[in-house]
Symmetry: C2
Subunit: 637 residues, 2 copies
């Protein structure tokens, strides 16, 4: 099945369909299994319990007007779950899940108004009128997620009830907000990407045009500021094509950018595409964490100024990480540039994989890189009202992250490779099989064997290939200094593979093997000196994994705040982590601090030291061994 | 006139009254003049324009029910202005101000209900009922500020209309929330300090008891969390006497602590006083900025975790600085410990004096120690919806700071000295005269001549003294390493004066002179290594002033982010600032950052350097020479 999340209307590079890739046991297969086994039902149960599903029944029954549980955007969680289920059904075809899915779709469909409008919070008896609060109402945001859910279903199972619901909802939005109608936009972008993709799926240019209108209308200050939140909060301060960096609420900025790329590609708008590309570049250069996380501020869940990347108060919302991969995937398809796939890998391993607890039933919302106070996970039956760092919670008051993780994991294998003509490119390394009909005819099938990221060896075996030259491309990540490749077309002997692409152009035969060796020995990483908040610190990475020090691994009585790392010592590999050499400060500062304040007229003296060897663990698995403090950036002085 | 802001019911140490101190030209006299000449009327005009004053007329006219301008707590700004005016009237007796004051009081009084309840937002036709929203309603908070305003008036002018209004409002609050009545507390502490002080002023123990009840009731989770804000936000998570550090919303925490000290002192509750003392110590040690600023987070205007002191996202609300001096003053009176006066000085010069623009018509709300993006002040007629750093605005959507600055500056001279028996202590150094009747009889009068803080020489001349041994104490700040004192009782020759107190116990004669020399040469200050956000940086202080580098003073084309300071070079004194030796990085990092991210596998190399000598200016005057970037902590590497 060639079904996949993003299908540009233009010919050229395409992702592989969910039916063209099958993961074997490994890092992502395990996450996907847990998602299928635990997370989907976990999300459904929570939304049933909280009444977010019953909201649809209430509208269907015409009994609105009472107290409605959930925020005004709770419908969107149902749609993201439906999207996740659609991808999951395409992967496994589980009949029990299919039945659950159908029942959910029936409840959603039953709440749709005659004219296609569908929202459980507005527009019915006892509710505020439709589109009376574009700033905060999130109606079009919800519709956008409905459309994405329908696109997933349409591409994996063809037309059907949810697709019909989405089509009518899209038509209603177009009627309300089309050319000559109301020139509004939604406070939270999402409708753009939903309409663009539905337009592609159904071959309906009106939807693409409506997406284009929403993108173009933005940035002209038509939304009223919400008290403390400025127009920049919802990207209504600068037109998309004039912005040079992402700012404001991170998820909003990134969903908007994803929609803008879809519009730019489908309408051939090179100027708009160039704008988003420049925004990506500057944002990655100055406003992105080592984990790939985006969003420096809790206050507005937003980007900070350039170089404002505090590790402790990093917001790095899980959804912003996911949204970032959505943008990067679109830019990769549009340009073929390897750096987008690089950032996706970084974000997948260090944001997306960090959020869910191993059991798939609790999630990080914020993903800070430094935790000073050990915090306990939220109890299984308790909803978390906040999004503080260091706490995985089963559900949140604003619970966007769990269902977003679910839909991303369920479709993750659709992002591991791309095809362009006779060229197949492996972008992400996971054990499994890839089988695709090449655009120029014939089938290419590969088996990937690897224990990546624990091990850097990736063995690609040809299972089937057409009887002509084809190109197999493998991504060599930017960090992979010293990678080698061996196989047909490369002289069979291992030779150096510089970061970027390594290409094998050959008549491939069944049984041919290409081996890529990526150096996953732990390595030190230094921040740009302009990232003030981590001056004098280094981080340790291992392959695509950002590592961290967790208090769990310290000697009894020691505290992370007293740790200093020796940056002249090579970190030593160990399992999926590393061991670094360091010291513990036993005296922090000399000199009188008679003011009582943490500042002194005498420079701090650090002696005597107590030496130690400290294991570092993958950041994505921190806080799973009990409450702990943690830091990614380790002081050297 | 012995009128003063805080008058413990117990005998012992007391502050000087506003009539006992007269400032001569100097740092604080100039701020006080600007406050009198510009700020008071500025605040009144804004509140008239916005309808916050008319809200009282509307209640008086019985025409409530329409749209009411301002937040639910806007009444409190009127009361803080009335408090400021009362202090100012005691200083100057300006008849025009008196008339303005009387008219304002009349409008306020006219809005009081029959039973003493007074609030323009609740409890009248078309409004929510009284005390129906203790979490956010701020009714008792407003009442607390009313009582403080009345206390200022009572102590400076005796009984009168506002005092009568306050008495009735206090009685109403006691009836509503007294023993056996409703056991509620207000989401925003302030009523405690208001009731305690009114109880002292009027000799009414019921008010003190009601303050005690409010303090004791707090911390038991009776307030409902407001969505994202936890009970810690309004200090309802831990009882006051059990807390070991301040947390949550900084202004709330500090107003509460001030009230708790008043209650502890007047009821002889040593346990409660000890608790607040410990909270002060730990907060100063781990949660306080070099400027004395408190509050590390924008999100909830709150304290962060220990050592979480980011310079760029420092909130350091002006009001929190003021509230901190309120707490320290009370603890000083209760304990006589010099460190409280030290922190007050730090906070006065670097937070309170930083907020108002030189013309007294625009104010910083947040006081960050690092500004990466140059921002323009808000236009004269424009209200600022936010509280971002780097912008002085004439008024704010939530406009607590301007009137708080006004009342603090108008009464500032009441905090410069204290008397205990035959001992007079000079706490803050400002040119002027002090004349007080000693508790043990006789009058002591001193003239202080100094250009402090520009110069560290403080000359104290005796104008009058009783004919017996008295003690004159001078504070030697904790930073004043190398201070000397000369005068009667010290052998007349200058000798070393260690930080703390220097005492002169003598039969003082008219014409006797004591000279304190405080070393105000600029000095380097290092942060505790646990303050991660400024690792590898030093600050420069000069006497009580924190200095900062402002982009205005850089060579053309240079950027603050490229500045490195040589910490081995002594900063050179210059005017009220300093000159430091530094370099500008001309290359930031070597090695490929092919990822596009601001992290590299190669340690940054800083060469070649361009050397420079950079003037530093007092932090309190930054952003007055046009938009600029700024930093207090200067990287050394």
């Amino acid at each position: 099945m060639r079904a996949r999340p993003v299908v540009p209307a233009t010919p050229g590079r395409r992702g592989l369909g969910v039916g063209e890739v099958r993961l074997a046991d490994g890092f992502w297969a395990r996450l996907q299994e847990t998602n299928a086994r635990a997370t989907l039902e976990h999300c459904r149960t929570w939304m049933e319990r909280l009444g977010w599903l019953a909201n649809f029944d209430v509208v269907a029954a015409g009994t609105t007007g009472g107290e409605r549980p959930g925020w005004q955007f709770s419908d969107s969680e149902v749609y993201k779950l439906l999207e996740a289920m659609a991808w999951e059904l395409a992967r496994t075809g589980d009949p029990a899940l299919e039945a659950t899915y159908d029942r959910l779709v029936d409840r959603v469909a039953a709440a749709q108004d005659e004219d296609g409008y569908l929202n459980t919070c507005f527009g019915h008896a006892g509710q505020a009128g439709r589109y009376t609060d574009l700033e905060s109402g999130h109606e079009l945001y919800c519709t956008g997620h409905l459309l994405q859910a329908a696109v997933a279903r349409f591409r994996t199972a063809g037309d059907g009830r949810l697709v019909e619901v989405a089509r009518r909802a899209a038509d209603q939005a177009c009627a309300e907000f089309g050319t000559g109608a109301r020139a509004g936009i939604c406070g939270h972008p999402e409708i753009e990407v939903g309409l663009a993709e539905l337009g592609r799926a159904l071959g309906e240019p009106r939807y693409t045009e409506q997406a284009r209108l929403f993108v173009e209308r933005r940035g002209h200050g038509t939304l009223e500021p919400i008290r403390l939140l400025s127009p920049a909060y919802f990207q209504d301060d600068v037109p998309v094509r004039e912005a040079d960096v992402w700012s404001g609420h991170a998820v909003r900025a990134l969903y908007l950018a994803a929609g803008a790329v879809d519009v730019a590609v489908d309408t051939g708008d090179a100027d708009l595409l160039g704008s988003v590309t420049r925004q990506w570049e500057r944002t990655v250069e100055r406003r992105t964490y080592l984990t790939g996380g985006m969003g420096s501020r809790h206050q507005d869940e937003g980007f900070g100024d350039d170089w404002e990347l505090p590790p402790d108060r990093a917001y790095c919302e899980t959804c912003a990480g996911i949204a970032s991969t959505m943008v990067s995937w679109r830019l990769y398809l549009a340009t073929g540039d390897v750096r987008y796939a690089d950032l996706m890998e970084r974000t997948y391993y260090n944001v997306v994989a960090t959020s869910p607890r191993s059991d798939g039933q609790a999630f990080f919302y914020a993903n800070p890189l430094h935790q000073r106070v050990a915090r306990q996970d939220v109890e299984p039956d308790t909803e978390n009202p906040r999004a503080e760092g260091g706490v995985r919670a089963p559900w949140f008051d604003v619970s966007c992250c769990p269902t977003n993780v679910a839909r991303t994991l369920a479709s993750w294998h659709a992002y591991v490779a791309s095809v362009d003509g006779d060229e197949l490119t492996l972008l992400q390394y996971a054990a499994g099989e890839v089988r695709t009909a090449l655009d120029d005819g014939g089938e290419l099938a590969l088996r990937v064997e690897t224990r990546y990221p624990d091990d850097g060896s990736v063995r690609v075996e040809v299972l089937d290939a057409p009887d002509r030259d084809v190109t197999l491309r493998l991504r060599v990540p930017a960090w992979a200094d010293g990678a080698t490749v061996a196989g047909p077309g490369t002289g069979r002997a291992a030779h150096a593979a510089a970061p970027g692409w390594v290409e094998v152009r050959e008549v491939l035969r069944r049984g041919d093997v290409v081996v890529l060796e990526l150096p996953v020995a732990p390595r030190l990483t230094w921040p740009d000196p302009r990232v003030d908040a981590v001056r004098g610190c280094v981080a340790v990475e291992r392959g695509p994994l950002v590592l961290c020090a967790e208090s769990t691994d310290l000697p009894a009585g020691a505290a992370l705040e007293d740790l200093r790392i020796d940056p002249t010592a090579e970190p030593r590999p160990e399992a999926d982590g590393a061991v670094v050499r360091g010291t513990l400060l036993t005296r922090r500062a000399s000199g009188a601090q008679s003011s009582g304040l943490p500042y002194s007229g005498v420079a701090p003296v650090h002696e005597p030291f107590e030496e130690l060897e400290l294991p570092l663990v993958p950041y994505h698995r921190w806080a799973e061994r009990g409450p702990s403090t943690m830091r990614v950036f380790l002081p050297t002085l």
